[in-house]
Point group: C2
Chain length 449, copies 2
């Protein structure tokens, strides 16, 4: 079987050999069977509930966008190497969205005049990135995106971070299960240029080094920092000590005077004070937090899992004041974040925080003696009372129907046979305990509610 | 700006000129702003509620699949001309899913042994087709997919059709708002070959002609039917009359004896009888109903809008017993359908059946005299009681905050100023009526619930 793709997107040949169709999903993507989808829906519902308490409104955006939307500011690796990019049948170069921020920025730009500010937006959507699949990282993944537009003070940053903490608490996470690490892009810039006197190349090298800090040994870190400082520094020992002190700081107050005097430090101070008032006890300052996306302009943060087996970033966000302006509108300030579904699922799984899920149906109607009509009538009656019921429509033997009800984990079974139809009393059986009651139509409604 | 796509999916050049970024979505796709998303979510919730009453369980599938999944059975036009097809960075030829049926069939095949039958599955997902955009037809669209696997009797067809009718009723549609037109692929085959004695080429021509019947004049229809019959028929007048009689039939009983004797007619008879018992009053037989997808093997149906300005198919479905078997598993019988979101929205809009939607937030907290802390405390208190509130964090003048609350259509405003903080009594104002009350924290909870 060969298929070649022409530049205009039309196929030369379509495969016709059907014997080899695989039943596996495309590499790095996932089939969500009902038990998987229930977990995902649970995560979605906790997200939705949390952001709606803060008045955020749901939106949706297209799955594909012109490629240049991402080339603008998403960072070179994401835009160049990780997007699913192709040319459509009309010759347009498009990409399957690898993230939501450019799309929602585009949408805000398009209705800049009509929107009411602060505009509080959220979405729950899927994205694709061409990456090597690994635990918690899939080629197709789901994210909540929460963004607030039109507020240039720290009040917006505070709100987004409060929501991040609220989401973790709503999932049942305890205070020592996670940390919110916070930094600021302006502060990073000042530290590199003003505080250490590094030039742009050195500064970028240092940013990359700090970003990698947890992945290399302390000795490697010192060696590489030494290489970066070498050319600019007259006192290497002092510079390294200053760097170590910055890295060790977990509150703003630990920073040296020179850094504390900057607007960025003042902003961070306001942010931490407000978070403390809002009951967010998990926020720490972290000079090594960088965030890869090019569009961040102020606060950056990441929620870290503190579990020893899963010590990594769960999700992050920050302020990106310049993105809306790229779409032909005046700039509009923005702060946002994007928790991911699978990452969250792993976090909850490791800690046993996922609840038990039941079947859609409250009862499974087992049909005996060919009493299809009676079973259908009962089902109709119960459904009109908003009770979810499944009917066994297979006309199989009793034992097979029972096995199916158990396998589906439906909480109750209702037996409909000749005897039941004659007496008007139906056996309701608890699938787990085995308890049975004989009930008429109306009493079944009460029992199943 | 030029971008060229290499066969390996890597870009030669990435656009860097940002001055021209458009704020419009990709052609044929739609930005769902909150007011649009609320309508969509309403449609999704009615769908979900209806299918869960019948015990269907939600699943999810990847956005992209190997192209051959669609080449198999989706019909040549859909697979060859309408898919978004491309080669990924690893050389795999993939397509953005244009429909769900092949994906869910693949998933069932992969877990053929483990699943409990009847397996009742549903999903609500997005799809892409490269079509000329027009009213109700978009390049990206959302569909409910409802499928039952493992039941080879008409009991499955009856259930799916009952759900189709239930969905329409749940949306508030009246009996004369829609018709469910039903036909059967086996019956069509018999009519072409056995009843009219047409060969395969003629039969296919006749199927296409019947499918187009409502789009051409009666005279054109007769002319083209004459051309098809010409070669095979010895009595053209009689053949045309037989054809007209078939087209005019709206119940099975009107069919001639010869057709009634087939298994397909017996199946249809059972289906219509059961639908009548189930309270489905909108089902009619329609010999012109064909359905374009190649995988249907038995019952086919479409729900038609009867509105004079919108007289067309809202959605359809049918039996497709052969599809699961293409994925390396034994065949498993299947019946399904796929209502579309935009089509449904148009239907509801034309009839005024869409409800009014409110904002996520129940109240908008207007902040006066710089009382940010008090406003935040009140918001926190209300949110902990599961009341959704939005705080104006802009520190703007009162009139601008009021305008925003009205523009966002939040039902209530709460004023937080120095006076309110001192007295512990906050003004709750109904945004629509203008009515005001002075309430403390606890009474605000009661008033907003």
């Amino acid at each position: 079987m060969t298929v070649s793709l022409q530049p205009n997107g039309k196929n030369e040949t379509i495969p016709t050999d059907m014997s080899a169709l695989s039943s596996q999903p495309y590499k790095g993507t996932r089939d969500y069977y009902p038990e998987d989808k229930k977990r995902q829906n649970y995560i979605f519902s906790v997200w939705r509930n949390a952001v709606q308490r803060f008045g955020y409104e749901e939106y949706g955006a297209p799955t594909i966008e012109p490629l240049e939307v991402y080339a603008a500011k998403s960072g070179q690796e994401l835009a160049n190497e990780q997007t699913y990019t192709f040319t459509d049948r009309g010759g347009r170069v498009v990409a399957i969205r690898p993230e939501m921020t450019p799309s929602v920025s585009r949408m805000v730009a398009a209705r800049r005049q009509e929107l009411a500010y602060p505009a509080r937006f959220f979405s729950i959507a899927n994205f694709m990135r061409y990456e090597r699949p690994q635990r918690g990282r899939e080629r197709e993944f789901w994210q909540l995106n929460v963004d607030i537009f039109g507020v240039d003070t720290m009040r917006a940053d505070i709100e987004i971070l409060t929501i991040a903490d609220t989401i973790m608490k709503d999932f049942g996470a305890k205070l020592d299960d996670y940390k919110i690490r916070i930094n600021n892009r302006q502060l990073i810039n000042f530290v590199m240029a003003g505080y250490f006197g590094l030039d742009e190349v050195q500064g970028q090298a240092m940013v990359k080094l700090l970003d990698r800090k947890d992945k290399i040994t302390d000795q490697d870190f010192v060696d590489q920092a030494t290489l970066i400082f070498d050319a600019a520094s007259t006192n290497l020992f002092e510079e390294l000590n200053k760097l170590k002190a910055l890295i060790a700081a977990t509150t703003i107050d630990e920073l040296p005077e020179e850094i504390l005097a900057t607007q960025a430090a003042t902003d961070l101070k306001q942010l931490f004070d407000a978070l403390a008032k809002a009951g967010v006890e998990t926020a720490v300052f972290d000079m090594t937090l960088m965030r890869g996306l090019d569009y961040y302009t102020g606060t950056v943060f990441e929620v870290f899992d503190t579990h020893p087996d899963n010590n990594r970033s769960l999700f992050g966000g920050g302020r990106y004041d310049g993105l809306v302006g790229l779409f032909g509108a005046e700039p509009i300030s923005a702060v946002g974040m994007a928790p991911g579904g699978t990452m969250m699922e792993n976090f909850l799984e490791v800690r046993g925080l996922l609840p038990d899920f039941t079947s859609s149906a409250a009862a499974y109607i087992v049909v005996i003696d060919g009493q299809n009509d009676a079973a259908d009538s009962l089902a109709k009656f119960l459904r009109e009372k908003d009770i979810n019921v499944e009917v066994d429509i297979t006309e199989r033997k009793l034992d097979k129907q029972l096995k199916t009800a158990v396998k589906k984990a439906v909480p109750f079974m209702i037996f409909v046979g000749k005897n039941e139809v004659e007496t008007g009393e139906f056996t309701l059986k608890n699938t787990v305990t085995g308890d049975e009651q004989k009930l008429n139509f109306e009493d079944l409604v009460d029992a199943l509610r």
